[in-house]
Amino acid sequence: MTEILLQIDGKEVRAREGMTLLEIAQSEGISIPKLCHHEKLIPFGGCRLCIVEVESGSSKKLVVSCVYPGEENLVVRTRSEKIDRIRKTLLELLLAHAPNSPELQDLMQEYGADKNRFEKEASFCIHCGLCVRYCAEVKKLNAVGFVDRGINKEICFIPEIACAECHKCMECFPLCPTSWLQAVFVLTEGLAFSTNSSVTQSKE
């Protein structure tokens, strides 16, 4: 495996070719905020919080570090006025949905985000897709999926699969940055699984 040399926040860093900027930064103990990333999952690039600035030759651009592959001689900056401003706005957009999420509140402090900047939206899911992707990629079960598109997209448990599988797994619960997933599951359970004896028995 070829080794590459690049610079992150002024620090010379060696990495394997093919590693993403986020992986390289993490291996060097440089922290980059992220919500939709999970080391066991294929990089998604949805939350965009891990945005960084890269400079190569004369070109400078903003890229998302969880999907951008490291390159030889690349100069990476993980913080700047512009990066912080974008992260702050992104957090404020999320806080309109999940103002009480502990994970978001920590980041809110760090970036000085205002949780009341945007009108509140009564949907707590922030579409990070961790539960959906974890269930599909790691557990290979597809018990939870996305339905609809865009701002109407929601997570949804597939009753036929969920009633057979979820009660013995629940590994997706701690992944959820807003705890909303658990509520959806409990709701689905209440509505759809009540007649299913296996779930009822396992609870007893």
Binding site: G45, G46, I51, L94, H127, N152
Partner: protein, 637 residues
């Protein structure tokens, strides 16, 4: 149908088709594109068939349903050959007279030919009509010459000769070089050099490669790809096969939106016809080159016009874009090198191969070569498809071809580039159309939508309309587009409803920066353009809405009021009777008064008040005059 095994056999077939045809034989060709069909072309075709039969002329007169010639404003369009007499807005009622007078007696029916609204001059032939005369129709020109469902018609006008030329004497590298030399750039939006894209895929060592037609044309008001795909599907297929040969792909896809049913039918038919002649399949024309094409229907997502989302959808997954840090011509469909080009780009390929890159580069500007088809719509006299050389000024397109703004209204702006394009104001009308030129003006080429707006258009509402469209169409994968646009849509809606507040413009700017810099795909990155470009040129309109609660264009319903001018009202009762909510008080010969409590601002009174009175007034941001006292309402004048 016979299978053609060599390029010579293709030529023999072409000669045989031509020998069966008499160029002097009368032919009635009727536009059977979606626009004309909607205005009744289907009935016109049926009427011609029965009329021709009635006169027992079936053997001596041909009837043809052709592709869209572009002059949709005046459809159904009928052209009669060999004289090339062009009749506009033909109805089934006109058909008997056309047959008896024009076909039999060879007379021109004056009432059906084009009459210039300003000069009163008549134009009998299509090429004399100013709408066509000022265009350069290299790509769309064949639409009118062929029956879009007939491969023989396409062969008769030289179809598949570019493919024969390529297969019999050019290497894939030479074809790629020729396209590169032509300077052709993608007609779908980004304007990436086509030859360079091909070269990247061609040089990749991977064995399996793909070529794809992007026919997921979703911009509101844009229909150039539809016209080409419906009207001349073989030209796109020919371009695609040549592209496949050039880069070394043996499989191609046509991703066409299901909302284009006629295009879906015609391209599927074209594929079957080409397969039967052996122009698709194994060992095409004996060259050893194998190539197949699959047609895939989109399921109605605007975002699937974005290349990576389209490829994800082709793979059978939900159509969401993916990061493009490695270009799709290297890692595209199923991670294989994939060349995806727009319909119009593919349609240019056979022309470049036939006429040569040197010919092509003579047309256009330094950095934008060839012609571009635009769909000219909105507040314009001649709605339709126009094809012009790059470098033509916006002014020429709007006034010379488009015939200017109807109803004596004043031009305000032209929106180019689709929903995420921008609005260009009057002072920039001398701008020459080209990729860089439009981008510099804060807009973009996009796929070629061109929406003309007059003085009655509110630019804040235009921004709201497009941002609302894009909010709806956002796939939702990435945050800045999904949530950012949702908030922008809310703020813009508030402004148009008189609920705007100080700081809104700045907040919209922050959200725009976030979407431009941080979105995953080009849809999100360009989505704030409608806001940014209207703010750049029409900031005063935003400020008037926010600070004075005034809509300068008198368009935003929540910000306008109607009243009746006491001096002008003649007490005719028309508005009173038409008001749907009974908000107008008055009687015959008595000044009418609008009850502002009941009025819903629908504007009916404004529209129905006879022009000679012009008594209903629309105002915004200013106080209503107090109504005339009851005792003074009797009209004595």
């Amino acid at each position: 149908m016979i299978r053609l095994n060599t390029t010579e056999e293709l030529e023999e077939l072409r000669q045989e088709i031509l020998s069966r045809r008499d160029p002097e034989k009368p032919c009635i060709s009727i536009c059977a594109g979606a626009g004309c069909l909607a205005s009744g072309a289907g009935e016109v075709i049926a009427a011609f068939r029965s009329e021709i039969e009635k006169h027992t002329l079936t053997v001596v007169v041909d009837i043809k349903g052709t592709g869209c010639p572009g002059f949709c404003e005046r459809g159904p369009v009928v052209v009669i050959y060999p004289e090339e007499i062009c009749y506009l807005q033909v109805t089934p009622k006109d058909v008997p007279e056309i047959v008896s007078k024009t076909i039999i007696e060879k007379q021109v029916l004056d009432r059906l030919v084009y009459v210039d609204a300003t000069t009163g001059e008549k134009a009998i032939h299509e090429y004399d009509i100013p709408f066509y005369k000022n265009q350069v129709r290299n790509v769309i020109c064949n639409n009118i010459k062929i029956d879009s469902k007939s491969i023989d018609d396409y062969l008769a006008i030289g179809g598949y000769s570019a493919l024969a030329k390529v297969l019999s004497g050019m290497t894939g590298k030479e074809v790629t070089e020729e396209v590169k030399k032509s300077g052709l750039r993608g007609r779908g939006g980004a304007g990436f050099p086509t030859g360079k894209k091909w070269e990247g895929s061609r040089n990749d060592p991977e064995k399996t490669k793909y070529v794809i037609v992007n026919a997921d044309e979703g911009d509101p008001g844009a229909f150039m790809d539809r016209a080409l795909l419906e009207g001349n599907p073989h030209s796109i297929l020919e371009g695609l096969i040549i592209g496949g040969y050039a880069i070394g792909a043996n499989e191609g896809f046509v991703y066409v939106r299901q909302e284009y049913p006629l295009a879906v039918v015609n391209i599927n038919l074209a594929v079957i016809q080409a397969e039967k002649y052996g122009l698709l399949g194994k060992n095409i024309l004996g060259s050893g080159f194998d190539f197949i094409v699959k047609v895939h229907q989109g399921a109605g997502a605007f975002v699937c016009g974005e290349s990576t989302a389209l490829m994800t959808a082709l793979e059978g997954k939900a159509g969401e874009p993916r990061p493009k840090y490695v270009r799709s011509n290297i890692k595209g469909l199923w991670n294989k090198p994939s060349v995806l080009n727009n319909v119009e780009t593919w349609a240019n390929v056979p022309i470049i191969i036939n006429k040569g890159a040197d010919w092509f580069t003579q047309i256009g500007t330094e950095s934008s070569k060839g012609t571009k088809i635009f769909s000219l719509v909105g507040k314009i006299t001649n709605t339709g498809l126009v094809e012009i050389p790059m470098g033509t000024t916006l002014k020429d397109i709007i006034s010379k071809i488009g015939g200017g703004i109807p109803g004596g209204k004043k031009f305000k702006a032209v929106q180019t580039g689709g929903p995420s394009g921008g609005c260009i104001p009057e002072e920039q009308l001398d701008l020459e159309v080209g990729f860089e030129e439009l981008t510099r003006a804060g807009s973009m080429m996009g796929s070629g939508g061109m929406i003309v707006m007059d003085e009655d258009t509110c630019m804040v509402d235009v921004a709201r309309y497009f941002i609302n469209f894009l909010t709806d169409e956002s796939c939702g994968k990435c945050l800045p587009c999904r949530e950012g646009l949702r908030q922008m849509n809310k703020i813009l809606t508030n402004i148009t409803e008189g609920k705007g507040k100080e700081g809104d413009i700045e907040l919209l700017e922050v959200l725009s920066e976030t979407a431009v810099e941080a979105s995953l795909c080009a849809l999100g990155k360009s989505a704030p353009n409608p806001f940014l470009s209207t703010l750049r040129y029409f900031r005063d309109e935003y400020e008037a809405h926010i600070r004075e609660k005034r809509c300068p264009a008198l368009y935003c319903k929540e910000l306008i009021r109607y009243y009746i001018d006491a001096e002008k009202c003649s007490g005719c009762m028309i508005c009173l009777k038409k008001c749907p909510v009974g908000a107008i008080n008055g009687e015959k010969k008595k000044i009418h008064i609008i009850d502002q409590e009941k009025c819903t601002n629908c504007g009916t009174c404004f529209e129905v008040c006879p022009a000679r009175f012009g008594a209903v007034k629309k105002i915004s941001g200013e106080p209503l005059p107090s109504p005339v006292p009851e005792e003074e309402r009797i009209i004595t004048r």
